[in-house]
Symmetry: C2
Subunit: 211 residues, 2 copies
Amino acid sequence: MDGKLATPRPGEPKRTGTRIQKEKRAAILEAGLTVFAEAGFRGATLDRIAGEAGLSKPNLLYYYPSKEAIYDALLRDLLANWLDPLKCLDPEGEPVTELLAYVRRKLEMSRDFPRESRLFANEILSGAPEILPVLEGELRELVEKTALVIDGWVADGRLAPVDPRHLLFSIWAQTQHYADFDVQVRAVLGGPDFDGAARHLDLMFRRILEV
Amino acid sequence: MDGKLATPRPGEPKRTGTRIQKEKRAAILEAGLTVFAEAGFRGATLDRIAGEAGLSKPNLLYYYPSKEAIYDALLRDLLANWLDPLKCLDPEGEPVTELLAYVRRKLEMSRDFPRESRLFANEILSGAPEILPVLEGELRELVEKTALVIDGWVADGRLAPVDPRHLLFSIWAQTQHYADFDVQVRAVLGGPDFDGAARHLDLMFRRILEV
DNA sequence: TTGCAATTTGACCAAGTGGTCAAAACAACG
DNA sequence: CGTTGTTTTGACCACTTGGTCAAATTGCAA
C-alpha cells in the first residue's frame, strides 16, 4: 500500500485492524498512559513513549498520526470508565449503602488505576484544554441528576442533610488523593495503606451521611 | 563587572541586591509561579516565563542561572508557607475548634493562592523529584507530631475517634481540591463557590469530629 | 560630567522536539 | 517460490528549547 495505515473510519475508535495492529496500538496506549500521567501532555515526549512501548518513533507514528492522537485516545477511554461508577449509583437503593459503595469503588479505582487518575489530574491542572466540553456537558448533567437523587434522599429523611455537589467533590477529592498524591502518602506513612484509607473513608462518610 | 550578577552567598536565598534586582527577581518568581503551576516543570518554557515577566530570556537568565533555579526558589518559598498552618494547630486549644480552623485556613489558602497549590500538585504528580526529601523528613515529622496531639484528644474523649494521618489527608485533599481542580468545580457548578465549600467542609468535619 | 558597575540585548549554539519519507524488511498466501 | 500488502526503519527536516556571550545600554555615585 501507500504506507498509510488502512483504517476504515479514521475518526472512529480504532478497534479494527490486524492482530499486530491491535497489539501495537495497545502497547502504545499503555506506554502513553505511563508517560502522560507522569509528565503531562507538554512534558511527555514521543521518544519516551516509543521507548516505553518498545517501538521506534516513526513506527509509533505509523499507528497514531500524532502525539495528540495518542493523548486524545487515552482521554476518551478514560472518561468512559471515569463517569461509570457514578452512573451505577442506584436511586432505588439504600442511600448510605449506595454512597459508601460509590466511595469504595472510587477508592479501588485509585488503587488499581492510579495512572488514569493522574492523567486526569494533569489534564485538569493544565486547564482541561481537551476535556472542558465534557466537564461542562456530560459530567455536569450527570452531577445534576445525581444531586436530585441525593436531595430526594435527604428530603425523605434517609440521609443527613448535605450539599450534594460538594459531597461529590469531597468523595472525588479524597479517593483520587490516594492515587494523585501517592508519593506524599507513602512519604508520610512510610508505605501505602489502602485498608487504612478504606476504613477511614468508610467511617467518615458513615458519620456524615447517617441520619 | 564581568557580567555575572554579584551575590554574596550564591547558595542562600536571594534577599540581597539592588532595588532593580529585587523587583526583577520578584517579577520572575511571579511569572514562574503562573507558568510552572499550569504546565509543570517540563512543560514550562523559559521564553514563556520571560515573556510573562516582561523580560528577554537572556535577561531572565541574568537573574536566575537556570530554569531549575527558578523552580527551586519557588518550591522553597512554597514549602514554608505550606507547612505553616499545620504548625499553628494549638495542642492546648479546643480540639474541634482547632481542626475546623485549620480546615478553614487551608481552604482560604486554596482560594488565595491557587497557583501555589497547583505548583505543589504538579510536583507531586510527577513523582516529587525535587521535594521528596522534605516530604519524608520535615513533613513526616510534623504529621507524626500532630498525630500524637490528635490521638491525645481522642483518648481524652474530646474528639470522636479517627485515624489522625488519614484525617490530615482528608483535609488536604478536600481543601486543595478547590484550587487544583478549580476548572472542574467551575464546570460542574457553573462558577466558583467558596462560601458553599466552606459551609460544606465545616458541616462535614463537625459531624466527623464532634464526640 | 565622567567613569564604572549593573543591566539588557541580539546573535548564536547544541540538543531535543514532533513529524515526514522513501526504502527496506517482513508476513501471508496463492 | 513470487507477489502483494503490512510493518519497520534510518535519514532527515523545521522548529523549539535551555543556555552562552560579547557588546551595547543604562543607572548612579563622585
